[in-house]
Symmetry: C2
Subunit: 187 residues, 2 copies
DNA sequence: TGACATATTGACTAATCAGTCTATAAATAT
DNA sequence: ATATTTATAGACTGATTAGTCAATATGTCA
């Protein structure tokens, strides 16, 4: 990845989150990135291609951070907690990226081709969940609801600590996890 | 509320949700509403005033739908379930409004004056919650986290049934509530 | 060295935007 | 009935936008 190309993506991430896709001009992006508009269009054919690249890079970054294997030596709860924490730390440490995913995952400017490129990688995560229901460690709730419940917990926890950074500590993060876990555990 | 004024707000709601604030031109709004641009600027001095009016109307509509008093004859769980359901039905039956609130509650175009106009009305809701912690029916979790947990559950449930409308029935809605309730209940 | 490709620049352009203005039409008041 | 205010229309304008283009610089390879 070229240095200028990277700074264009960095500037875009910041400005798209702060002012939206249409609220950010290519001139502003170029200025923020410290390049000329011509350079921007040298690396990206148009604005839409830019946001698609950004979406791919952001999601790749998330996938990299949350990847890791199920550890049979640990309990199911511990395994799921580690995954939950990885998601949350990603959101807390990369607030622009997290907000970008939140805002733009339904954007019409992100093409279906771009989405396909990533969607199926979450399959691993889904199977991971299934393990818990099979072993009757978590409630018999259909998969789609379980996934959305999981994501809702990540969403509310990350946005909570973005809003109240002074509340961020291990105790409160565990508290937030227990809210999530007690919702799906059996008994 | 004038008929044309209302159709301008309706058109704005739809287009702002679908294409964003800057992604929607005043000409498009006027066309969708079936009026001339001059009429739009007769009712709203500028685009920002339009989105602020829209925000107020949308939140007023939400507040109207979720309002109601705590019923001492019913259990705390039942009371909170009814509130939770009111929020969810609002989101399910008014998907544009719900998405609009989600997308624009942090928008810089919604002035702090507009926000103040509504924020304090949620105080009732907060006190409602406190009742549960005082009676030790729900976990001793600090208020801000509890509120964000509540909102996260609404968010994930509404977006879930927007994504999978065929899954919407009483059984699954109750299931989603139990995920939420078991997270905060004691024991 | 010299030839060719790639990188970078910023002035430029056609299209689009928010908002204005003038002209009427409809409603309301005196 | 007449005057005054309010509603509606759409052509128009100055500013801004995404994207182009021609010029120049830098790198690469034989």
């Amino acid at each position: 990845m070229n240095e200028k190309e990277q700074s264009i993506l960095d500037a875009s991430l910041k400005l798209f989150v702060e002012h939206g896709f249409h609220g950010t001009s290519t001139a502003q992006i170029a200025k923020e990135a410290g390049v000329a508009t011509g350079t921007l269009f040298h690396y990206f054919n148009n604005k839409e291609e830019l946001i698609n690249s950004l979406y791919i890079h952001t999601k790749e970054s998330l996938l990299k951070d949350i990847s890791g294997n199920y550890d049979d030596k640990k309990s199911f709860k511990q395994n799921i907690k580690e995954l939950w924490l990885k998601f949350n730390w990603f959101g807390i440490n990369n607030s622009y990226m997290f907000q970008f995913i939140l805002i733009f995952h339904t954007s019409p400017y992100i093409t279906s081709l771009t989405k396909e490129h990533l969607e199926n990688r979450y399959d691993e995560l889904v199977e991971f969940y299934m393990q818990g229901t099979e072993k009757h460690e978590i409630k018999m709730v259909y998969n789609e609801l379980l996934q959305d419940y999981f994501w809702g917990s990540i969403y509310s926890t990350v946005t909570h600590f973005q809003k109240y950074p002074e509340k961020l500590n291990e105790k409160n993060l565990n508290m937030a996890f227990e809210l999530f876990w007690d919702g799906i555990k059996i008994g």
